[in-house]
Symmetry: C2
Subunit: 282 residues, 2 copies
């Protein structure tokens, strides 16, 4: 069953808000995931400028069948401020990428990137419990992954970022909860079990590598957030050395799945059942 | 090609606004019509209460890929007041059922019911030019049909409605433009070529007939706005007497087509082409 079978007046609506928006890939995939789980819903792109975000988000909260919002660039931080409540992880990050409409028409937010990234590594065979992790990148994606890696039980998380104030600010905030497990790292992966790239390095031909790839060895696991190219130079080198790896597309898929989990956790979407659907067992 | 093939970040969005909304049938049909005409767009239901209509309509005007709104019960009159501009026929009716976003983010409205109804009769073989028409019902649908019947060249339009002030108010306003061609009618169809029902009579078992069906004769054409039941008691009697007829579903389809015409007349939707679509010849 797909959206051409299910679209009707009873379909619940979820928007994905960004600026620009035409490049986003999630409308069809998240729509299909919702349908596969027996929910009559559709995800549509919404092109909203920063200056209009608060107005549009408030108005959609007053639209009684508009049950969720996915937030993408550049609105993740601004949308956090528009939530009435958020999960603890979103509160830590000060950002959200998925919102669920509350019964009062206000919004409850979550940030799915970190959990999704970690889940994608797990599906590729990388469990973090007790592992030593080097993370390159302390920006939005890096912060989410750092938090999730610590929650997943990494014994050590070393964060590398050329922007030292940004790196140290993130470490300081994580250390309040996780203490000595989080430290400053360098580009040198020696001594780590797992290496993650959460920087843009590798998107463009000629980018410097985010870590010293010559020091990777085949016992390490290497994961990357970048989806274009599908396999970054870092991952190519890692594979050539025998490392297990996970590509950015794996993260994207897992983040979408996590967003659907959040949207379906409670509220009207959970009741928007397709008449003939056999929900996928979870 | 259908919406499951085309939904993406580049899809343009059209809402259908009503309260309630779950019963509306147009999302899938209008979406498919837009796709068949080579336009990458989707129609989604929006459940909006009257108190929130102005807020939501204004916010959607600031959503840069939200190019149109279809307006249904109970918002047709309120939405008229929210338009920056309308077609002349919508202005006459003081109501709109389809809006197109202008370049300034405000809305241009039209009322498609009258044209759609007349087009549906035409497709069933009923040309109005020079014909004598009896119309039952001077409400929203009746007003739209009256105006469109006169524009289509009916030589006489007699309007029957038990609410005499409503009937006479409509006649007075139509007469300002169409003079003697519009008159008060009764429930007696004798002497007319065409009989239209634009009242709710026939939706429920036991309803009185909207006109004196015993005086129908087989040379008359009879059209009805009611979609449920598919064939009203009035149409059943008309058919039994040999009349040609048109059902409400025919009107519904023609109104949807007319809305698509309006949405695609100009503006960003006309540029939202599907890459591989061969637009249907018109």
């Amino acid at each position: 069953m797909n959206i051409s079978d299910t679209l009707s007046g009873a379909t619940r609506v979820i928007g994905i808000i960004g600026d620009p928006i035409a490049q986003v890939k999630s409308p069809s995939g998240v729509t299909q995931r919702l349908i596969d789980r027996g929910c009559n819903a559709v995800v549509v792109p919404l092109h909203v400028a920063s200056a209009d975000l608060a107005t549009v988000v408030a108005a959609l909260g007053r639209t009684k069948n508009f049950d969720g919002l996915i937030i993408t660039v550049p609105h993740k931080l601004d949308a956090y401020a528009l939530c009435a409540t958020t999960t603890e992880r979103a509160h830590f990050l000060g950002g959200v990428n998925v919102l669920r409409r509350r019964p009062d028409g206000r919004w409850h937010g979550d940030h799915a990137d970190g959990l999704g990234f970690i889940e994608a590594q797990r599906s590729a065979g990388c469990e973090l419990e007790g592992r030593r992790v080097l993370l390159a990148g302390a920006g939005g994606a890096g912060s989410a992954i750092a938090q999730a890696a610590l929650e997943a039980g990494a014994s050590l998380l070393a964060i590398h970022d050329g922007d030292l104030p940004k790196r140290d600010g993130l470490i300081r905030r994580l250390a309040q909860r996780h203490g000595e497990r989080v430290q400053a790292g360098s580009a040198d992966p020696r001594g780590f079990d797992v290496v993650f790239n959460a920087t843009p390095a590798g998107m463009r031909a000629g980018d410097a590598l985010p870590v010293m790839a010559e020091h990777l060895d085949g016992a390490m696991f290497v994961g990357d957030v970048i989806t274009m190219p599908a396999v970054t130079p870092l991952l190519e080198i890692a594979r050539s050395k025998g490392c297990r790896t996970q590509v950015g597309a794996g993260m994207f898929a897992a983040v979408c799945e996590r967003m659907v989990d959040f949207l379906l956790e409670t509220g009207p979407l959970t009741e928007a059942r397709l008449p003939t659907a056999a929900p996928t067992a979870r």
